[in-house]
Amino acid sequence: MVTVTLWGSLAELAEGQRSVEVEATNLRELLQALELAHPALEPQLARGVSVSIDGKIYNDSWFQPISETSEVVLLNRLEGG
């Protein structure tokens, strides 16, 4: 199981849990599992999120590996200037 940390206002939609556990070995599986386990997250997941995996930020890379010891943090989808 991978532990995923949610940002505060997202946690409110996941029954107030700041971290949730899902079964996933990569980013795509992680996002799919999150949506399945917590349907209330769907609107935000559809709008897009960034995911920090061990301190590095990913937006799209489905096959980025995630291990059980990875630190996974969901973030608002980031954009730059």
């Binding site: 590095k56 930020i57 730059g80």
Partner: protein, 747 residues
């Protein structure tokens, strides 16, 4: 993956200060920017813009304009019959051509294409628009209140609590720990409210484009943009065409800073061209640039920080309310994520709000959302340091984030360079230089994420041994030079042997926009990998020529050579020699790299500034300014310095002068460079850049993006310097002379 990683090496080209390939064109006036292109039979396109901040468009009568001599097409929203699937693109369409309502002063409601400017101007006057003027709202705090005039319906996200106006589109909360417990442990707590005005990126080149579109639904677009691939996909979606049928070529770009990461004129020009059957050129006036293209958010921010007497922060809280103009933009959340990012905090809570108002849609401006948050947080940090009698750099060092710190936005930091910039600032002679009367010194830190993203690069070995490199990111500050340098470094050939160009959308795979400080990092990485790909082919050609195994060949100093004595004894084959025989050894040689380069490392900077305040007038003079930032590895140090200097000076303008001023009627009062005053040469001292080079472990040369972080610390740094010089805490930007004078008098 191992090849992505940083390896220590001796650089021959990278790190030198070579002349840029586009230099000659730019000093002779030949470089072609957005407005410099023409086409035979071209028409000139002009926009009719709303004079009202908020109005229902009751009717538009274009018949008189259409009947005029020289007028070839008139378009309104009725011509845009496709509804884009994506909400963001729908917003862009609503922004470039108003739908049922004009949402801000300057919002386009119709456009014409005519054979001359005078014909176009007359046609604009002949379009009759009936407006029903609606109440408007400009201020972020006003816009949040229930009962405020509302721009949209049903757009608030699920994160917005009850009791707010529908103008509040989103709320994001970050942080960790227990702030109440944290504040309970504090000896000193400081709580302040701050405001910052909207500012404009202020690029000197107004938006411009030349569009050609036929009834075969095929088009060409030449435009100034930070990302022509994004222009292609956005315009194609709005026009209801397949993006492969639209070719977009980026012009030289006269500044962008984030403001050219979207479209304004392009879909309108394409529609005018489609309707008239002729090429249409459109260029914004400065008035249009300021009224209708992307300014920053204005903000209202509350910050509370508590610390023990010996300087340890026990709790921190921030509420970041950002208005993003008439449409959704994620800025408040970025403020909530970035403001406290330089610090190691046990107990933190931040909330970011996205609010719409009757102003132009906010666009990115370097590190979007971060400078205002840093202004507020770093101001309170400064006051806290003073109140407990600590040196402001020591206070930041004591609480500074480092490897292993849980960041303000959640993740744990890998190795980062914040403390290195603080130590460098502390050790710099600027920090200990004496100050005179009415003078004050400020320090501030800043954070930005930095991005990578989709990148596609082609590197061609030409038969004469020169190298052509095609990249897909508009060169906004010398990146063609940096890419040529990295290719030359990797190939082991002189810099002059490589020429880099920006290819159009039909010539390369998808490339993300030039934003997020991504280009030197991500396009550089792709360039290095494309060069390595070409080297593999050249090694194979040499192996074939020698009749040995390709594994037995290595690439050293621009030539293939046998790898050790067992491989055989052959004199090295240079790149030039291999290129000369390419048609004999298997045909053309090129290298490619296509990837989504995610996982760029974060960036920190520290600035120091000395100011002198005139107590009689409230005028501020910047006496000395020093920037400390980690570049990982400065590929072309001149252009890294230029990014740091330019970011600092934009910050100086933001801190001291620049602001969008609205009248009672919600119209912009200062849409010109006379009244919207950006820093001029005589306002400024030299800006000293101090580049730190702490290699980015995720890039082969250790490169880190540098484009955005430089604008994050200045607002706070200058506010801290001014507050110390005037002995009064300044909490509202810009610190213009009347505002500062009033604060001094109220002391």
């Amino acid at each position: 993956m191992a090849k992505d990683e940083f390896q220590t090496r001796e650089f021959k080209v990278v790190g030198t200060r070579v002349p840029r390939p586009d230099g000659l064109d730019k000093v002779t006036g030949r470089a072609r920017y957005g407005a410099d292109m023409s086409a035979p039979g071209m028409l000139h396109g002009y926009c009719l813009r709303s004079p009202h901040a908020h109005a229902r468009i009751v009717s538009i009568d274009t018949s008189a304009a259409e009947a005029m001599s020289g007028v070839k097409a008139v378009v309104t929203r009725a011509d845009f019959t496709v509804t884009p699937e994506d909400q963001g693109t729908r917003d862009i369409l609503d922004n470039v051509m108003a739908d049922k309502k004009a949402l801000y002063d300057g919002h386009t409601v119709a456009a014409v294409a005519a054979t001359s400017r005078s014909a176009g101007m007359k046609a604009l006057k002949a379009i009759k628009v009936e407006y029903e003027v609606l109440p408007h709202v400009i201020d972020v705090d006003e816009a949040m209140k229930p009962g405020a005039p509302e721009l949209h319906e049903g757009r608030s996200q699920e994160s917005v609590p009850e009791g707010y106006s529908q103008n509040v589109l989103a709320r994001s909360q970050y942080g960790h720990g227990d702030i109440d417990a944290g504040f309970a442990k504090a000896d000193v707590i400081i709580e302040r409210s701050f405001t910052t005005a909207a500012t404009h990126q202020g690029y000197i080149e107004p938006h411009a484009c030349l569009a050609t579109m036929g009834n075969d639904n095929q088009g060409d677009l030449f435009c100034c943009t930070q990302g022509h691939f994004l222009v292609r996909s956005t315009c194609a979606e709005i026009m209801g065409m397949e993006s492969g049928r639209l070719r977009v070529t980026s012009s030289e770009i006269g500044g962008g800073f984030g403001g050219k990461t979207t479209v304004f004129l392009e879909p309108v020009a394409l529609m005018l061209s489609k309707k008239s059957g002729k090429p249409v050129k459109m260029t914004m006036s400065r008035d249009e640039v300021l009224r209708a293209s992307g300014p920053t958010a204005s903000t209202s921010i509350d910050i509370k920080i508590g610390a023990t007497k010996d300087g340890r922060i026990t709790g921190a809280w921030g509420d970041f309310r950002y208005q993003s103009g008439a449409f959704y933009a994620m800025n408040g959340a970025l403020g909530a994520m970035c403001g406290f990012a330089p610090y190691d905090l046990e107990n933190l809570k931040t909330v970011g709000w996205e609010v719409v108002t009757n102003r132009p849609k906010a666009a990115a401006y370097r590190a979007p959302g971060a400078p205002m948050a840093a202004f507020a947080v770093e101001s309170v940090m400064d006051e806290l340091a003073s109140s407990i009698g600590m040196d402001p750099i020591d206070f930041r060092l004591m609480n500074g984030a480092e490897e292993g710190t849980k960041s303000a936005y959640g993740p744990t930091y890998p190795a980062i360079g914040l403390k290195a910039t603080l130590e460098a600032a502390k050790a710099h002679p600027h920090w200990s230089a004496p100050l005179g009367e009415n003078q004050g010194r400020g320090v501030g830190c800043g954070f930005w994420f930095n991005f990578g993203g989709n990148t596609s690069v082609s590197l061609m070995i030409n038969p004469d041994g020169t190298v052509s490199l095609s990249e897909g990111n508009p060169d906004i500050g010398g990146s063609r030079a940096s890419m040529s340098m990295m290719a030359a470094e990797e190939l082991g050939i002189p810099y002059r042997q490589v020429r880099t160009i920006i290819a159009d959308t039909a010539s390369l795979g998808e490339n993300d926009v030039t934003d997020g400080s991504r280009v030197t990092f991500a396009v550089g990485l792709a360039t290095i990998k494309a060069a390595r790909h070409a080297i593999e082919t050249m090694k194979a050609r040499a192996a074939k020529t020698w009749g040995i195994d390709a594994d037995a060949v290595e690439w050293v100093d621009g030539a293939a050579q046998p790898a050790g004595p067992n491989a055989g004894k052959f004199p090295p084959l240079t790149l030039k020699e291999i290129a000369a025989t390419m048609s004999n050894t298997g045909g053309p040689i090129s290298g490619h790299h296509e990837a989504n380069a995610e996982g760029a490392g974060v960036s920190f900077g520290t600035h120091i500034c000395d100011t002198e305040v005139d107590p009689e007038t409230g005028a501020v003079k910047i006496l000395r300014y020093t920037v400390f930032q980690d570049a990982g590895k400065a590929v072309h140090p001149d252009y890294v310095e230029g990014q740091l200097q330019g970011g600092a000076v934009q910050g100086i303008g933001w801190a001291l002068n620049e602001e969008y001023v609205y009248g009672e009627d919600g119209t912009l009062q200062n849409p010109g460079f006379l009244d919207y005053r950006i820093p001029v040469a005589s306002d400024l001292p030299m800006i000293e850049p101090v580049i730190l080079e702490i290699p980015n472990p995720g890039h082969p040369y250790g490169v880190r993006g540098v484009g955005e972080t430089g604008i994050v610390p200045p607002l706070a740094t200058i506010a801290n310097a001014v507050s110390r010089a005037a002995d009064v805490r300044m909490t509202s930007l810009p610190m213009s002379p009347p505002k500062l004078l009033a604060a001094i008098k109220a002391k």
